[in-house]
């Protein structure tokens, strides 16, 4: 099997060790350390920095958490500076590619998921960072490389959070006769847990879950998926619930479907479920079994003009420091990517509940988990998509 195991292993170690640091990731350290120190230090004078900055993110509660934890304090400290929010992260890769082709980069900082950052970095669309120089050291004195540890999955990606895709279910389904889903395979068990399910309309994650419930070991998942029979096996498992599935393509759909009783169990990002359960007080509960982890973080578009680059770097240093990352967790249940931020995670800003138990990386929640093999998917996504679409249309 073709794989760059570090990408997956780094996330696994991040989760399983609790502290996001292993010696192994030292080799990830940027190869060229000093990218002309002179230009950077001279550009960092406030007078030379752009007066506004376009930040691209996902919108909704997530953008709001960034606004509260990063943007507002930064703007308060820098009078006359403005952040423009663009909620286009969904199209980020396509638009960044188009921007680079048209030589018209209008974005300054873009929030993307780990796999997308890999693609952007590979294609030279994102700027390579010098983490130890560009980012702030941890409050415990550790260098950024050490502090971020395994979450530094490539040279362009500045991690913010760990999130997971997992299942939520309604707690008031009469047909379940008092039973509660306890493991992932409840999703595939329409006898005990009748009702509709919502799954994302793409092969990624679903194929893995299907195989896990078809008796494939976690370690062998991608080996099995690499064979045509393996894919058929996964699709055959999905076939057993196909007529009960509502497919979603936007993150807001599963919460709405759960609230509407349209589905009884559905996959979405854990922060959305937190929002439904704790903030919107819907009768929904988390199913933490085999959640799939991902990092989410910033990338800076390549080839920004000096003044804008200086501003972005200045902002990044501030917005990814220990305190800021910990602050973000006050507004949304995603785990900070820095080790030094973890002890600082406190209570929710308005609800006043402890956030630590709601974090996906909380050991209690992460007894069994999965990490997508980014490398495998970058090779096989096109083909899997074709098969998945053909299967859906059947």
């Amino acid at each position: 099997m073709i794989a760059a195991p570090w990408m997956r292993d780094s996330l696994e170690s991040f989760i399983s060790l609790g502290i996001p640091f292993t010696e192994r990731n030292m080799k990830l350290k940027p190869i060229f350390a000093a990218v002309s120190i002179a230009t950077f230090s001279s550009a960092l004078l406030a007078a030379d920095m752009a007066k506004e900055m376009t930040v691209v993110s996902w919108g909704g509660a997530y953008s709001n958490s960034q606004l509260k934890a990063y943007h507002e304090p930064y703007m308060a400290a820098n009078a006359g500076f403005k952040i423009i929010n663009d909620e286009s992260s969904n199209e980020a890769v396509a638009k960044l590619r188009a921007m680079a082709e048209a030589k018209n980069i209008t974005w300054d900082l873009v929030d993307v998921e780990g796999p997308d950052s890999q693609r952007l970095c590979d294609e030279g669309l994102a700027m390579e960072m010098d983490f130890d120089k560009d980012l702030a050291a941890g409050t415990d004195g550790s260098t950024p490389t050490k502090d971020f540890g395994a979450s530094l999955i490539n040279k362009c990606f500045i991690p913010q959070i760990v999130f997971s895709t997992t299942f939520g279910y309604r707690t008031d389904v009469a047909d379940w006769n008092g039973k509660k889903p306890e493991d992932l395979c409840a999703v595939f068990d329409t006898k005990t847990f009748p009702g509709k399910r919502s799954l994302e309309k793409r092969p990624k994650k679903n194929l893995e879950w299907a195989l896990l419930c078809d008796g494939v070991e976690k370690e062998k998942l991608y080996e099995v998926l690499s064979t045509p029979e393996g894919v058929d096996k996964a699709l055959a498992k999905l076939d057993t619930i196909k007529k009960d599935v509502v497919w979603w393509s936007a993150g807001a759909e599963t919460p709405q479907l759960l609230a509407d009783k349209e589905v009884v169990i559905g996959s979405t990002y854990n922060g959305r479920l937190f929002d439904v359960i704790e903030e919107k007080k819907q009768p929904v509960a988390m199913l933490w079994d085999y959640q799939i982890f991902d990092f989410d973080g910033w990338v800076v578009p390549a080839n920004l003009p000096e003044d804008r680059k200086a501003r972005v770097l200045d902002f990044l240093k501030f917005a990814t420091d220990t305190q800021r990352l910990a602050d973000q967790a006050k507004y949304i249940s995603y785990g900070p990517a820095r080790a030094s931020s973890q002890p600082l995670v406190g209570k929710h800003a308005t609800l006043g509940i402890e956030m630590a138990p709601h974090m996906p990386s909380n050991p209690e929640n992460a007894k069994r988990f999965l990490v997508n093999n980014i490398e495998w998917w970058s090779n096989n996504e096109d083909e899997m998509n074709k098969k998945f679409e053909a299967w859906l249309a059947k």
Partner: protein, 415 residues
């Protein structure tokens, strides 16, 4: 024969030709600003976009020497290319890696064969370690055995030319191989089916719009102005309501725990456990799209019907025609232009929609445009998106042409 002359002594023929010429120039001058505007800001950019469907220069631009060497290589011998090809590949890649182009090529080739993406990403590190003087062939194969695989090289050769029909083949579920094009395995065919579905559903939507729009247009055209203008507000209101909002409203109405099902359960038409599936399938798309496009049918029909004097129907009836005959033989033929206008408008708009099918169509109710959007914003396979778009556009243009032949485009009235 003597020429007829104008009072000014100019031959009439000449004068007419001159006047005609002047008229033509004036017409063209009036059209010119808009024509230039549309050509520059729309037609040329779109053509440029669609040309991506045959553009394949990335392979020969990234690997210029390799593609030249491969020209003389015959894949059917079953032998790998010789050292010269590997050496050329080494030099090409060195260049490409400096400009970070090798991964783009990997992404491109991965559309055709899985595994190319990581092969080319990895090669960045491999090439930097290679030494001159030792056989590049051995070094490449040692770095990754895919380089020793005939398939990799055949792929490079097949995709060497600057232009390719590969995207178009992919758009009709075919695949380019060393021995020409062949159909994909049945488990990977999607597009032909989708094209057929898109056409079929757009036709059904157009038909539904006609069936629902005709009586409304007739009513509006035959009621007194006061009443019909007030009723017209009901037709125009949906127009003023965002497409996204209307689509969401249909979700609220049609879903299983939604308003319609609730009412049906309350009426006892269906049982609580037997709620109907009205959304996330073709039915959902049909209902929501018909609703969205209905005003586009009603307005042209209405403006045509308004011009038909009611006396015609009365005359027919006074000559002994039944209501039905009078309608069918006298009234209906006069509305053909309106039907044509409305139908072509709804059909063209329907065929290109993708947001509504995406939100309410589930798996069976999505259109080809959804796949185009997917390839533009997610898979980044713009070549394939352009090929699918070109085929769709050609279909629309053929229909437009047929319509123009039958009805004439200037008969289209929008109210």
């Amino acid at each position: 024969m003597e020429q007829i002359q104008t009072p000014h002594g100019v031959p009439l023929k000449k004068q007419i030709a001159r006047a005609l010429f002047k008229q033509k120039v004036r017409a063209l001058l009036l059209i010119a600003p808009l024509l230039i505007f549309i050509l520059i800001t729309f037609v040329i950019p779109i053509t440029d976009m669609l040309l991506r469907s045959i553009d394949n220069s990335i392979v020969s631009d990234t690997l210029p020497q390799t593609t030249t060497v491969l020209e003389t290589w015959d894949a059917s011998t079953g032998e790998l290319p010789d050292e010269a090809a590997f050496a050329a590949l080494y030099h090409d890649l060195k260049q490409a890696i400096e400009q970070k182009n090798h991964t783009k090529l990997g992404t491109r080739l991965n559309y055709e064969s899985s595994g190319m993406s990581s092969l080319f990403r990895k090669v960045g590190k491999d090439v930097s370690k290679m030494q001159e003087g030792i056989s590049y062939k051995e070094q490449f194969i040692a770095a990754d055995k895919l380089w020793g695989n005939l398939k990799t090289w055949t792929l490079l050769k097949v995709y060497s030319p600057k232009y390719t029909n590969g995207y178009f083949l992919a758009a009709i579920d075919m695949k380019k191989t060393a021995d020409g094009a062949e159909m994909l395995p049945a488990s990977e065919r999607i597009y032909l089916n989708l094209f057929a579905r898109t056409l079929f559903m757009s036709l059904v939507i157009t038909g539904l719009c006609l069936v629902l729009g005709y009586p409304i247009a007739w009513l509006l055209a035959n009621l007194p102005m006061r009443t019909s203008n007030l009723l017209m507000i009901l037709v125009l209101l949906p127009f003023w309501t965002s497409l996204l909002v209307r689509t969401s409203a249909w979700k609220v109405l049609l879903q299983q725990q939604g308003v319609i099902n609730d009412i049906l359960v309350w009426l006892g038409v269906v049982s609580n456990t037997g709620r109907l599936e009205l959304i996330n399938n073709q039915f959902g798309t049909l209902v929501a799209m018909t609703h969205i496009l209905l005003p586009f049918m009603i307005l042209p029909l209405y403006s045509v019907m308004r011009t038909i004097p009611p006396a015609y129907m009365r005359a027919a009836k006074s000559l002994g025609a039944t209501d039905w005959t009078a309608f069918w033989r006298v009234y209906f033929p006069q509305t053909i232009a309106g039907i044509g206008a409305g139908a072509i408008l709804t059909f063209i708009l329907a065929i290109g929609y993708y947001i509504t099918p995406e939100l309410v169509g589930g798996t069976q109710g999505t259109f080809i445009s959804n796949r185009i959007a997917y390839h533009i914003s997610s898979s980044l396979n713009w070549g394939l998106a352009a090929a699918l778009g070109t085929i769709l556009l050609t279909l629309v243009l053929v229909l437009y042409w047929v319509y123009d032949k039958i009805v004439g485009i200037d008969k289209v009235k929008l109210g």
